[in-house]
């Protein structure tokens, strides 16, 4: 996995030398979606909270770029905190309701909230309704970084990905993470030990929501565009796909899942219109034969050596 991250770090030099901007673009998309998948993994993989509405946070993050920009406010110092704050707030309010349910109800209610956000933004004509709006320019951090420069933006995204991985690594190893993982396995037992599991799970849900909104902030900047479509449940499904494919509850799994999914999408969609069928088959195979996903399979091979 370190090799993958190193490859991402030197990729711009390589693509620059061989004049392959397309690859850089692909890597950017992979990294941004990885950020979101890493945040989903925190609640889904480590916390057992299967959110089917995680794309809503990415949408919220993108609107946090787009709406201020619509009013001429391009400062990243304003847009990024709005994205993170709005993501956290949406997670706090919806999580307060969602986390009172379990299992399939939790999945459905997270989906329902995401769809509500989707339709809410569809209905706001001012910001383009369901067509969304173009963002004139990326967030500004005057004097520090120029995100309009593709290379600088690339390293900003890479820094966010590393930051997200580091954050999750720290969280799951700390006392807080122990509580979240314990509550995944046996919530009633955690309560009888003396933990107010609801609050810890809610805090975890809020952290993941804020992280996903930051990823959405990157996505809005990357696309120069925001629309309710970003919140669509199909995108939430893709994020779950990445996490499960890569290995839920493993640190790097979601990144591997994102890499494989996006490259497969790229390749297969060029080859056949039935590519989602093939993706579906792959997911079924992973769930049946490789529960730990790609990361789990790698760990198993290493143990055999």
């Amino acid at each position: 996995m370190i090799a993958v991250l190193l490859a991402l770090a030197v990729l711009p030099a390589v693509t620059g030398a061989f004049d392959q901007p397309f690859l850089l673009d692909l890597a950017l998309r992979i990294m941004i979606l990885s950020c979101a998948a890493v945040s989903l993994n925190l609640i889904l993989g480590y916390g057992g909270m299967i959110s089917f509405g995680h794309a809503a946070y990415m949408g919220i993050g993108a609107y946090a770029v787009g709406i201020p920009a619509y009013y001429g406010e391009y400062s990243g110092y304003i847009q990024l905190p709005i994205a993170v704050g709005a993501g956290a707030l949406f997670a706090l309010v919806t999580g307060f309701v969602c986390l009172r349910t379990k299992g399939v109800y939790f999945i459905m209610i997270t989906l329902a909230f995401a769809q509500m956000a989707y339709f809410a933004f569809v209905s706001i004509e001012e910001y383009g309704g369901d067509d969304g709006l173009v963002i004139e320019q990326r967030s500004e951090f005057p004097g520090i970084i120029n995100m309009e420069a593709e290379l600088e933006f690339y390293y900003v995204v890479l820094a966010f990905l590393l930051g997200a991985l580091f954050l999750v690594h720290r969280i799951v190893g700390a006392r807080f993470g122990m509580v979240v993982q314990g509550a995944k396995g046996n919530e009633a037992r955690m309560q009888s030990l003396g933990f107010d599991t609801f609050r810890y799970r809610l805090a975890c849900y809020v952290i993941a929501g804020a992280m996903a909104a930051a990823a959405g902030w990157l996505m809005g900047n990357y696309n120069y565009y925001f629309s309710p479509e970003m919140m669509s449940w199909t995108h939430s499904g893709e994020l779950i796909f990445m996490v499960v494919l890569g290995g839920a509850g493993t640190l790097f799994g979601p990144v591997l899942g994102a890499i494989v999914l996006i490259i497969l999408e790229e390749e297969l969609s060029g080859a056949t219109v039935y590519w989602p069928l093939i993706l579906g088959a792959i997911l079924v195979a992973v769930v049946l034969f490789a529960r730990g996903g790609i990361e789990g399979a790698i760990a198993m091979l290493e143990r055999r050596k």
Partner: protein, 253 residues
């Protein structure tokens, strides 16, 4: 004069028309093992669930360590020092044996909104956790996944968790359930050894175990307590004999 650690007054709980517990009175003194016995369906497990806060009570009062805890949620009661073991083993199978015990320590080590230090290398957590495992005899298996333990060891682990945290009253719901004779005897020794440290409310079917361990016994039948007292008193009680002990004790007496 000993102090009442747990005092239950007129506690009731109905499911539909059935009164699972019906005006139960019960007192657990500090340092004693108090056994609750009774036939299947007498309401023993319902009582434990009410005491632990997993079932809300319809009426009555629970006073624990001098505080009225009747309306407190489970986790708040646990923080005050009530530990519940479950009838069916309830541990964290995905975590290691040490992690399981560590969580019990952590539950009584302030809040857990801590992100800075790795929990598994925090001596404030691992030292008490290991100490509890030593005492139970599971220290050698600390690193194993809890899933890999035998059934008897699972039950031992539950006791280790109760020991590791700052619990003062253990609510033990059939701790010997599903154990072989040898394991069961070990557990009796273990619990007897813990008496100086913890008070216990014990629900148990095996009369040998009950009479070997209990300082006092309460008998429940159809949700009601029909007798409460020292083991000899209970053994001699005509009502109890008729309602419950029956052949079982007259046979081996």
């Amino acid at each position: 004069m000993s102090i009442a650690l747990l005092e239950v007054r007129a506690l009731s709980k109905s499911f539909g028309g059935i009164r699972a517990t019906d005006n139960v009175d019960l007192t657990v003194q500090e340092g004693e093992i108090h056994a609750v016995i009774g036939p299947n369906g007498a309401g023993k497990t319902t009582l434990i669930a009410q005491l632990a806060g997993m079932l809300p009570s319809d009426s009555g009062q629970i006073v624990f360590a001098g505080r009225d805890v009747t309306r407190l949620p489970t986790h708040a009661r646990a923080r005050l020092g009530m530990a519940r073991s479950f009838q069916t083993t309830s541990i964290f199978h995905d975590l290691s044996v040490l992690d399981n015990t560590l969580l019990a320590v952590q539950a009584h080590a302030g809040h857990s909104y801590r992100f800075g230090q790795k929990a598994r290398s925090d001596a404030r957590l691992t030292a008490p956790a290991m100490a509890a495992l030593e005492q139970i005899g599971l220290a050698g298996k600390a690193g194993l996944s809890a899933r890999k333990l035998s059934h008897g060891e699972h039950r031992q682990l539950e006791i280790a968790m109760a020991l590791a945290g700052k619990y003062i009253l253990l609510l033990l719901d059939e701790p010997m359930a599903g154990m072989g004779a040898e394991e069961s005897a070990q557990m009796v020794d273990l619990l007897r050894g813990l008496k100086s440290q913890k008070s216990m409310l014990l629900i148990e079917h095996d009369m040998d175990v009950v009479f070997a361990l209990a300082d006092r016994i309460t008998v429940m039948v159809s949700g009601k307590t029909i007798a409460s007292g020292a083991p000899e008193t209970i053994r001699a009680d005509e009502n109890v004999r008729r309602a419950y002990l029956g052949e079982e004790t007259s046979g081996d007496a």
